[in-house]
Symmetry: C2
Subunit: 241 residues, 2 copies
């Protein structure tokens, strides 16, 4: 079904509102884009595309969660990204001469996702320098994040990565006690942090043992003192008092 009639068009239009990749586009441009879009439902575990597939679309998640990953020869998986509602992925293929997805993508939960046609999008992009700037900003930000990731993989240990991840989940300069819930399964998070589920579990336990965090069971974790957690970034694995 085409999405350009009825409720789904409105939903897409709404979701697009705050997307960097249409920032600065006119209403007319947005309308032309929406006309070609469809909302696709995905079941938990369903694959969107494989690394190396020819790519003529990129994606915007309306609801659910998607994992982006690469596999080693012997089936080992590294999660390159976890994408939730309101976020987009696969924009990289817009600017490749032979567009192929550089990662595989799989829905982790039941999800609703909009596919955006590469050619149609590029046709609109060329009329808006502001949008180009917005896109270049985003690409640059992604490069910075990847630099951070390379750094944390090479100069930091697994404990740092776990603590850093938890800190990213804390909303803002919150300094009081925070209760947070992991956005997805612990094994997926471990994959994202390039450690095994076992190591993730042990690291959380260790943090809990010296009082930096409190494990509340399930996906819920309490941080009594974010400052202490932030300090744990600078600390070596040896436990503080």
């Amino acid at each position: 079904m085409a999405a350009n009639d009825g409720a789904s068009a409105r939903e897409i239009r709404e979701a697009l509102k705050h997307q960097y990749f249409v920032d600065g586009m006119s209403d007319a441009q947005r309308s032309r884009l929406v006309r070609g879009m469809t909302i696709q439902p995905f079941a938990a575990g369903q694959t969107l595309f494989h690394r190396g597939d020819i790519a003529d679309t990129f994606f915007l998640v309306l609801a659910g969660r998607v994992k982006l990953y690469r596999l080693s020869i012997d089936g080992d998986e590294k999660i390159m990204g976890l994408v939730g509602s309101g976020e987009s992925f696969g924009e990289g293929v817009l600017f490749m001469s032979t567009p192929r997805y550089p990662v595989s993508a799989q829905a982790l939960e039941k999800s609703r996702i909009v596919a955006i046609n590469r050619t149609e999008y590029l046709a609109e992009l060329q009329y808006s320098f502001q949008t180009c700037m917005s896109v270049m900003c985003k690409l640059t930000a992604r490069i910075e994040r990847l630099l951070d990731e390379v750094e944390s993989l090479t100069l930091r240990d697994s404990r740092y990565r776990v603590v850093n991840y938890l800190l990213e989940l804390i909303p803002e300069p919150a300094d009081g006690p925070v209760r947070l819930s992991l956005p997805t399964s612990k094994s997926a998070i471990a994959g994202r942090l390039a450690i095994r589920a076992e190591t993730f579990s042990r690291t959380l336990r260790q943090l809990a043992e010296n009082g930096t965090i409190v494990l509340c069971g399930g996906r819920t974790i309490e941080v009594p003192n974010p400052k202490l957690l932030r300090h744990a970034l600078r600390t070596k694995s040896a436990q503080a008092s």
Copy 2:
């Protein structure tokens, strides 16, 4: 000294010719850019900038070699990039709201480098959609390279990274014997590959022992059969016959 008079202006103009970031710009635009540029000499070991410095320029290397790196708290170094003549770096800062270099940069050899003013460049950029496309292509390519790096840091072992690096040094689909020379010191390359100099040395020795490469002393390495080396990517560390 300003570069826009005499030989250096001509040299800059020549070097710019094949740079992606002026691709599609008019002669007038290029001239305006060159007017503000200067060639800066750097001695071996001299620092260009530190991570976190406020950034109002990015750079083009005319001659020499620059290392881009990050440091851990205890002085450990990860080389994020090695940049040689004809290559540019630091473009990321163009699109940051508060532009700061995300890495530190140091000349490895005596170098001649052009600094390009961020504001002046951005002023020209907005008149050329083609240049924007070229820039976005480049940023995307950088993201892909970083994804590859993350993959090789997490899903591959040190041997893979060494072999892969050597393969990148081989000019083209050369299938005959190739003699290549490492572009910089072995310890710097090791840093780039996120391994210790000791491990790099041992890995090269191991490759030499099973005949995949021949160590000719110094920075020279011979690859009798590139195909064999390419095959070594797929092989586990156990040595082949």
